[in-house]
Subunit: 225 residues, 2 copies
Amino acid sequence: MISKEQLAKLIDHSLLNPSVTDDDVKKACQEALQYGFAAVVVNPSHVPIVARELKGSPVKACSVVSFPFGLSTTAAKVHEARIALEEGAEEIDMVMNFSALKSGHSDLVLNDIKEVVQEARRVYGKVIVKVILENCYLTENEKRRACQLTMRAGADYVKTSTGFGKSGATIEDVRLMRKVVGPKFGVKAAGGIRTVEQALQMIDGGANRIGASASASIVESLKPS
Amino acid sequence: MISKEQLAKLIDHSLLNPSVTDDDVKKACQEALQYGFAAVVVNPSHVPIVARELKGSPVKACSVVSFPFGLSTTAAKVHEARIALEEGAEEIDMVMNFSALKSGHSDLVLNDIKEVVQEARRVYGKVIVKVILENCYLTENEKRRACQLTMRAGADYVKTSTGFGKSGATIEDVRLMRKVVGPKFGVKAAGGIRTVEQALQMIDGGANRIGASASASIVESLKPS
């Protein structure tokens, strides 16, 4: 049975609603430090606050890139990732260009991810890059292809959803993604995960990172076995 | 009474849903050419298609920037705008950093817009820049301040909404924005405008540009007076 501390270490505490203020971001950082979450995930313009608040702690500052649509050009994604890293981000959750995937441009999708990964590694060595597939827009074949392209591009995780599409993480998608990427690659379930039951189900299905906003409540609700 | 041709010239035909394919974008361009809309508005990665399809026509290619959250850094917004213009965009609809506005950072908001405007003008002279306030997240005072900052920054239009927030354009907001910016500045109403009645009401309230996806149906539904 998983402990509260172990569960917290799997959670990316996410504050991606665009109308949050600086104070909301600071509060989220304090919660993350208190519970020991894996990371705090924010929009790019909030990265400096998070980097400052989390400095010297094991909680990572994580920035989204091309969020939530993924339809920036590759050059813009690379540039946005570089600025986030310069400002103190230690992990990157980038959105895949799912329109390009659906239009049959696998090479563009591959290159889009690869260039962000290479830029991140070039600047900071061990940066973890997660790629948000936004499964709600994809067919099963497109989900498989997206997983394969993410692996080939050298990223670290496939992530189910932005949380701002028409639906979020499903256990079926997590199982499918884990099956395609194998046992050693990262799978992050995010979008609509609000209870400890959902979080545990996703972990049971193969997720090794959970994105959530109600992170404190999820951890507090964990019953001792 | 306005004619179909006059109404079409006020409409920015918008294809911003992130799951559209290249073929959807091409189809939207053909509609825009047929009806004579003001512009076709797309996400950055679709700009090259639109620029090619509309080449030599009076219909403008328009790219959104930092869409739909507006929480990229200023440097990333400037970079994204520059790439869009290089790839053929002739107008820019950028999203204001409304989180910064709500956190009291008026200087950041002003500078954010000003740098995009200056970059656009530096590169292409007469580029029209519209600033999306995303009114659904703002108080009345914040809406007023956003209009004033947009004017001071040298942009051309205030725009009500992205169409992806919790609500879209309202007639009250259009009236307020027109009142604050005066008679000569641009006001674009967008988000949830699906009928000719809504479009005419927005124009009557002071909008001189309408953003819509159901643009063809709106124009076709106009009754002769």
